[in-house]
């Protein structure tokens, strides 16, 4: 049963990945290209400043391991689909633990609710603290620290969300489902805000970097994540419902209840 759900989750993830790839190809790549053009311009200017009088193609384009068309095509496709399929699988595992433990919610509702919570905890809140950045933003020397901080922020946000869910269960009897959810949601926001304030900030956007490109890049990143989580939540919900219903004939369920 769990293996089957896992497979269905990854299937939903692959579908979400395909949609995200098309979206990012149309709305993400243009700002990546513009950021790379900005980077080349900066390198050019730097080289000219350090070697006045010499008119050479500044910073001879470093040996490209993977060409731009491959990065923007097959590379993007592979990265997005693998990422999305993996999240679909992880999502199915969380669903397997949550289903039947969230009151009387049916599979589709559990899936949609978990997807909303996952989107907020794994992407929205972490990216408010450490937003997505296009190429040419970010010092190569700080990549280790930035990666560690970003993953820490995701882990802490996710842990807070799990804590909030446990708080919700605890408050359920006293407050009822709605009020318990409001209180748990507020508790999540307070804890994550404190976490975000405690973690060090990172801002390595070059002063002359075009604001419009940065905005377009970040909004494309947000759009892709929204699409991915929505697709996984809705498609997996349907696939899981089918699977779980197939195992329990309606008559049998009625008699047992």
């Amino acid at each position: 049963m769990v293996g089957n759900l896992l497979l269905r989750g990854m299937l939903a993830g692959v579908l979400a990945g395909l949609i995200c790839f098309c979206f990012l190809k149309a709305f993400g790549e243009p700002s990546v290209d513009r950021a790379i053009a900005f980077e080349a311009q900066m390198d050019d200017a730097k080289a000219k400043a350090s070697m006045p009088g010499m008119d050479m193609p500044a910073a001879a384009p470093d040996e490209e391991l993977v060409s731009r068309p491959v990065q923007a095509g097959l590379g993007l496709f592979t990265g997005v689909v693998v990422y999305s399929a993996a999240f679909g699988g992880l999502f199915a595992l969380v669903f397997a633990l949550a289903y039947g433990r969230m009151g009387a919610l049916e599979a589709r509702s559990v899936s949609a609710l978990l997807a909303g919570m996952g989107f907020i905890a794994v992407y929205v809140l972490p990216s408010l603290k450490y937003p997505a950045n296009p190429p040419s933003v970010g010092e190569p020397e700080t990549i280790g620290m930035r990666t560690a901080l970003y993953f820490a922020m995701i882990a802490l946000s996710l842990a807070s969300m799990i804590g909030a869910s446990m708080l919700h269960r605890r408050l359920l009897a006293r407050l009822g489902a709605w009020d318990a959810a409001v209180v748990a949601g507020a508790a999540y926001l307070v804890v994550v805000t404190v976490v975000a304030l405690l973690l060090p900030s990172v801002n390595e956007v070059p002063a002359q970097f075009p604001a419009v490109v940065l905005w377009q890049f970040r909004i494309a990143s947000l759009g892709a994540q929204l699409l991915m989580w929505t697709t996984i939540g809705l498609v997996f919900g349907r696939l899981a419902q089918q699977h779980l219903m197939a195992g329990t004939p309606r008559l049998g369920a009625a008699i047992r209840a």
Binding site: V66, G75, G79, A86, A96, Y99, L105, A254
Partner: protein, 69 residues
């Protein structure tokens, strides 16, 4: 009047944690490894020599929100 009352909805049956755990541990580990390869390999840390993985998934890494260069 009626002697048997069927509840409108039967509570969905939870899957025993014991049944989920092995999948969650092994599957979860492999899936997180996949996300690591897309998000961080040959950036902050490196399991494989060279920069090929990093360069290949580079656009996805940036657009999915991971820190890069």
């Amino acid at each position: 009047m009626t002697s048997v009352a069927f509840p409108a909805k039967s509570r969905p049956a939870a899957i025993p944690v014991r049944q989920v755990l092995p999948w969650a541990i092994f599957g979860g580990l492999l899936l997180m490894l996949a996300i690591y390869f897309v998000g961080a390999e040959e950036g902050a840390t490196s399991l494989i020599r060279g920069m090929y993985v990093h360069e290949f998934v580079h656009d996805g890494r940036h657009l999915l929100g991971f820190p890069c260069h």
